[in-house]
Amino acid sequence: MKRKVRWPSYLIAILIVVFFLWPVLYVIFSSFKTLNEISSPNPTFFPDQWTLQSYIDVFQKANFLRYIGNSFFVAVSSTALAVVINTMAGYALSKFRFKGDKIILIIILSTIMLPLEVIMVPIYRVLTFFGMTDTYAALIIPAAATPTGIFLMRQYLVTIPDDLIESARIDGASEWKIFTRIIVPNAKAAIATLAIFSFMWRWNDYIWPLIAITDMNKYTMQLAIANLNGEFSMDYNGILASATISMVPMLFVFLIFQRQFVQGTAQTGMKG
């Protein structure tokens, strides 16, 4: 099956690379331009005069360091919680037979069809009932239980041989010990995939913070970016700088974990 790929394929592939990459690079380079240059009628790709002024603005006019910290704290905590509880659920749904197992799986998976955007109004009601509005808990806990995460873990854990678990049981290991000593070490690959996806979801999330947070001190970066031109009366170069600050860590995460992203997308997307 060795077919030769001719040059038109390469040409097309490269043109598409340009289409996908230049908007990102253009914004990143433009965040280093002066305000004058950004509003000049002859835009160039690279800055004529490099400046960090937009970044200084972002940190001075808006408390951006705090928002980066909030985003990071929320993303890391929620991811840690997501990994623990979704692996637990995946274990229960893959290695046990119990009353209602099928129904529970179906209910969990069908919540994929119930997007947050559809229930954001009553969720606000629930958050106020528990006194959770304007708390980090509201950003961390609810989002940690994701049907996609459970599904991913379940599909992976099914492949762990039952013998491994059975022999540990015969040795008298407690169920929790089986979980931490056998299941978790054997599911490292799936856990890594879930962790980086969860981090990306939380880092990029806009709707949850929008519903749960009004206190500026608890703003995540996405919420801050959405309000930069309003509340902080930021110039557009500040918005470009903040967009860059939001994108760049994810791009590095992607470069490092590319394989996990591709496999994770292929797996969860295939079966939903």
Partner: protein, 306 residues
């Protein structure tokens, strides 16, 4: 370890059996609690609210109004136009994403050199938050100092007020969505393409099939499960469109890119009396649309199984 194994042996079989029955539920508890409290319960409250007159600032004062909210919705020009915009967006964007992501997948499964590099660049925008995607495309198209206008005037057109013009604004929203999501669905198609048995193509070669015939005879039918999957996922995603337009068009010009989720959000949390009962009715309508379209898609493709 040794002590524990003794206790197991002395433990009665019944007690052990009982423990084994309880354990899976214990492992599921944290998730089920969160699902119950933050998804199932709100969904039920949403249905309940949709039959009541309730305002955000007086959430405990409910007046039962029956189907009045729903009846009002269909007389409400702002809502019906947001709903129509959303449906139009689905009609315009879904086929584009579908065709483009499949084409990209077909391209990157070829034995190209530096294949990984191409794949990574196409997937890259998937990593960017929808809000920032809006920032990026706003910057590219809007205003006289934008890249787009510099190009547009150079090829001889008058400067465009891009996001002030409904047609241009729509085009920008669609390009931004396709740009940021095509790579994701490309990967799903890629995985499906790679799992098609090579023997099918070899058989087609023996029969002297052309490239075109091989695509329609082998590739396309083999992709049925993932085609249904992608279709359902994209439709759901487009119905939820909101964060991407926050910094791009903000629903403008003149509400021409106002979609249902923005309407729900503004009705419940921003506008006037903040009527959450009315907003909940909008949510239910949105949910009904998403469900019907997914079900039709699923049924039309016989469940996506072979």
């Amino acid at each position: 370890m040794r002590n524990q194994s003794k206790t197991i042996k002395t433990e009665s079989y019944k007690a052990y059996k009982f423990k084994q029955k309880i354990i899976p539920y214990l492992f599921l508890t944290p998730n089920l609690l969160i699902f119950g409290i933050f998804i199932i319960l709100p969904a039920l409250i949403g249905v309940y609210y949709s039959f009541h007159d309730v305002e955000l600032l007086h959430m405990d004062e409910l007046t039962f109004v029956g189907f009045q909210n729903y009846i009002n919705l269909f007389k409400d020009k702002e809502f019906t136009s947001a709903l129509l915009h959303t449906i139009l967006l689905v009609i315009l964007t879904v086929p584009l994403i579908y065709v483009i992501s499949l084409s990209l997948a077909l391209l990157i499964v070829k034995p190209l050199r530096a294949k990984g590099l191409f794949r990574a660049s196409y997937y890259w925008p998937v990593m960017i938050s929808a809000l920032v995607v809006g920032v990026i495309w706003y910057f590219i198209v809007n205003g006289s100092s934008s890249m787009f206008n510099s190009f547009w005037t150079r090829i001889g057109f008058a400067e465009s007020d891009t996001l002030g013009d409904p047609i241009f604004a729509w085009a920008t929203v669609i390009i931004a969505i396709v740009w940021s999501r095509a790579g994701y669905y490309m990967i799903i198609f890629m995985a499906a393409l790679l799992s098609i048995p090579v023997s099918l193509y070899e058989a087609a070669d023996v029969d002297g099939a052309t490239k075109w015939q091989k695509f329609w005879g082998v590739t396309y039918p083999s992709l049925r499960a993932s085609r249904v999957m992608v279709m359902i996922l994209v439709v759901m995603e487009i119905f939820k469109t909101y964060p991407i337009i926050v910094q791009l068009t903000a629903g403008g010009p003149n509400d021409s890119t106002m979609f249902v989720v923005q309407k729900i959000y503004e009705t419940a949390f921003v506008d006037g009396a903040k009527e959450i009962g009315y907003a909940s009715a909008m949510s239910i309508i949105l949910l009904i649309f998403v469900t019907i379209i997914s079900a039709v898609n699923f049924a039309a493709n016989k469940g996506g199984t072979d």
